[in-house]
C-alpha cells in the first residue's frame, strides 16, 4: 500500500486505474485506500510544483523567500515547543524546524517584498517573548526544492533505433 503513496507523491495526477496497473493492486482497493488516507489526513492535499522564477508576468507579483534562524531562551516544562508553535501560526511562515547547531529554529518565510519580510521579522518574529536573536538569509535563486531540480532537463541523446 505504501507504494501507492510513493506514486502519488511523485505524480498526484495519476489515475486510480494507472496506479492499479503499476502496482498490481485491484483498482477498488486503490480507490478505497486513497479515500481513507484523504479522510484520515495522511494525504493532506494535492498541489503543483511551480518554478516561480520561470513565470514571466507582473513583477510586482513576485514572492520573496527567506530562511530565518532563530535563537530562543528555553522555558522550563515546555522547552521550545510553545514558541515554535506560536511562530508557526503566522501564515507568512511556510516551515519551522527545530535544528541542532548554534541556532534553535530554522524557519522559511515568504512575503511580497524584501521590505515585507524584513518588517515581519523585526516587528513580529523578533518581538516574541524568549526570541533572543534572528538571522535572516534571503533566497536569491532556487536551484532545487524538495527534490525537484529547477534546471533544464538533460536532453535525450539516444539514437532513435539501437540494437
Amino acid at each position: 500500500m505504501r507504494r501507492i503513496l510513493e506514486l502519488l507523491e511523485r505524480d498526484a495526477q495519476l489515475s486510480h486505474d494507472t496506479i492499479a496497473t503499476m502496482t498490481g493492486i485491484p483498482v477498488e482497493q486503490v480507490s478505497a485506500a486513497i479515500a481513507d488516507w484523504q479522510a484520515s489526513g495522511v494525504i493532506r492535499r494535492y498541489k503543483a510544483v511551480i518554478d516561480w522564477d520561470a513565470v514571466e508576468d507582473d513583477p510586482t507579483a513576485e514572492t520573496v523567500t527567506a530562511f530565518i534562524d532563530v535563537s530562543l531562551v528555553p522555558a522550563r516544562g515546555v522547552g521550545f515547543d510553545d514558541v515554535a508553535q506560536r511562530i508557526a501560526r503566522f501564515p507568512e511562515v511556510r516551515s519551522v524546524y527545530l535544528v541542532s547547531g548554534s541556532q534553535d529554529l530554522r524557519c522559511t518565510v515568504e512575503g511580497r517584498s524584501i521590505r515585507a519580510v524584513s518588517d515581519f521579522v523585526s516587528q513580529k518574529l523578533s518581538t516574541i517573548d524568549r526570541v533572543r536573536a534572528t538571522a535572516t538569509h534571503f533566497v536569491l535563486k532556487t536551484y532545487k526544492r524538495d527534490g525537484d531540480a529547477f534546471t533544464t532537463p538533460e536532453a535525450d541523446h539516444r539514437l532513435p533505433v539501437t540494437p
Binding site: L7, T21, M22, T23, L159, P160, V161, T162, P163
Partner: protein, 384 residues
C-alpha cells in the same frame, strides 16, 4: 582489387540500421526502438567520472582491468547470487559485453566449430560467432512457451562439431527470463556433450517477476560457463563501455591475452566510474528498476487492450507483442507504422525466424510517450 574477408562480406547489415535511417529523418517520432535506458547515468557515477578526469586518471590500466573493480564485481556476484569467482584470475574487465562476447568466442572456437544460438536473440550473436570462425546454429523458441529454451530442441541440434550454447537471459528482444529448470536442463545437456555455456546476463538486474538465475551458480555449470555482464543497463552506463567476463581461469587467461593485444584495456575513467557504481548501495538501481516495472505493466496492458497479444516480459525493458492479427509481416508492419503514425518499433524478424510475427517495443521511454504510442498504434491497427 582482391576480395575482402568473405565471412564479413557475407554478413548482412543489421536490419535495425535501416529503421534507424528512416526514423532519424522524421520529426515527431516516438521511438520504441531504443535498446538503452532512458535514464542518464546516476549523478554520483558521473561525478566520479569527472573526478577521475580532473585528477588525471587518463592512462591505461592493467590488461585485466582495475583490481578494485574486479574485486567489487566478484563480491557483488557472490552476495547477489552466491557465485564464487576469484578476481585475480577468473575475472576481466571488457569494453562492454560486446567485446566480452567477441573475446570469448575467439577463445572458445576453432574454425568450423558450431555454436547453438536459441532465437529470437540479440542481433550480434550470430555475426560474432561467424567472425570468430565458428558456425552459428539457430534453434527456435516459441512465444507460446514464453520463449523458454527447450533442451530437447537444443539436443536435436547438437553435432560432433558443437562447441558451445550461447544464451541471453533476461533476453533482448523478448524480455523472456529463462526458468531455472530450463537452464538446469541446458547444463545437463552441456555436461553430456562436453559443451561450453556462454551466458549473456547484461540485463540481470532488470528482472521484475521472480529472481534472476546466474547460470554459473547451477550445479555442474561453473567449470563450463562463461558469464558476461556489465554496467550499461542496470546503471544506465551504455556510453561508458564497461563490461566484464567471469570464467574458469583457463578461459579467462586466454581472454586477457586476446584483450591485451586488441583492446589493451577498458577505458580507465569508465572503470573508475564503474567502481563508484558498485561502491554504494544499489538504491538508484532499485529506483530505476521499479520505474521500468511500472511502465512495463502499463505498456503491456495497453498492448493487450489494443489487440496485440503479448507474452509477459519478465525482464530487460522490451515487450515483444504478436502482430499476427494485422496480417502483416513484421518488417512491413514496422515500416507502415513508422510512416503512418511516426512510431518506431523494431521488426521481430531481425532477431531470428522465430521473431517473425512480432515487433520489439522498448518501454525505456517516458510514460506519456508510451501512452501516446499506444494511441497511435491503436489508430494504425484500426485503419488497416
Amino acid at each position: 582489387m582482391r576480395p575482402l574477408n568473405s565471412v564479413i562480406a557475407a554478413c548482412p547489415p543489421s536490419g535495425i540500421r535501416r529503421f534507424f535511417d528512416i526514423a532519424a529523418e522524421m520529426d515527431d517520432v516516438i521511438s520504441l526502438g531504443v535498446g538503452e535506458p532512458d535514464f542518464v547515468t546516476p549523478w554520483r557515477i558521473r561525478e566520479a567520472g569527472i573526478y577521475a578526469l580532473e585528477h588525471g586518471y587518463t592512462t591505461y590500466t592493467s590488461n585485466a582491468g582495475l583490481p578494485r573493480l574486479r574485486e567489487l564485481i566478484c563480491a557483488d556476484l557472490a552476495t547477489r547470487y552466491g557465485a564464487s569467482y576469484d578476481p585475480t584470475d577468473q575475472c576481466l574487465i571488457t569494453t562492454g559485453v560486446s567485446e566480452g562476447l567477441d573475446l570469448v568466442l575467439r577463445v572458445l572456437l576453432n574454425p568450423g566449430d558450431e555454436v547453438i544460438v536459441p532465437e529470437p536473440c540479440y542481433v550480434a550473436y550470430e555475426p560474432c560467432v561467424a567472425f570468430a570462425g565458428g558456425t552459428p546454429v539457430r534453434v527456435p523458441t516459441r512465444a507460446e512457451d514464453g520463449f523458454a529454451i527447450d533442451a530437447a530442441v537444443v539436443a536435436a541440434a547438437v553435432t560432433p562439431r558443437t562447441k558451445a550454447i550461447l544464451i541471453g537471459s533476461p533476453a533482448n528482444p523478448t524480455g523472456a527470463v529463462q526458468p531455472p529448470d530450463a537452464l538446469a536442463a541446458l547444463v545437463r545437456l552441456a555436461q553430456e556433450h562436453d559443451l561450453y555455456l556462454i551466458s549473456d546476463e547484461i540485463y540481470d538486474r532488470l528482472t521484475y517477476a521472480g529472481v534472476h538465475t546466474c547460470l554459473g551458480t547451477l550445479p555442474g555449470a561453473r567449470e563450463r560457463t562463461v558469464l558476461l555482464g556489465g554496467f550499461s543497463k542496470a546503471h544506465a552506463m551504455t556510453g561508458w563501455r564497461v563490461g566484464w567476463i567471469c570464467a574458469p581461469a583457463a578461459v579467462a587467461e586466454l581472454c586477457v591475452r586476446v584483450h591485451q593485444y586488441t583492446m589493451l584495456c577498458a577505458p580507465h575513467v569508465s572503470q573508475l566510474a564503474a567502481v563508484e557504481a558498485l561502491s554504494a548501495p544499489g538504491d538508484d538501481v532499485d529506483a530505476m528498476v521499479a520505474d521500468y516495472d511500472r511502465r512495463r505493466r502499463v505498456f503491456v496492458k495497453g498492448l493487450r487492450e489494443i489487440g496485440l497479444d503479448c507474452p509477459e516480459p519478465r525482464g530487460a525493458f522490451y515487450a515483444f507483442p504478436s502482430i499476427r492479427p494485422s496480417g502483416l509481416d513484421s518488417e512491413t508492419f514496422a515500416e507502415r507504422l513508422l510512416h503512418a503514425e511516426s512510431v518506431a518499433v523494431v521488426p521481430g524478424g531481425v532477431f531470428g525466424p522465430s521473431g517473425e510475427g512480432h515487433i520489439r517495443c522498448s518501454y525505456a521511454t517516458a510514460l506519456p510517450q508510451l501512452e501516446e504510442a499506444l494511441v497511435r498504434m491503436d489508430r494504425f491497427l484500426r485503419a488497416l
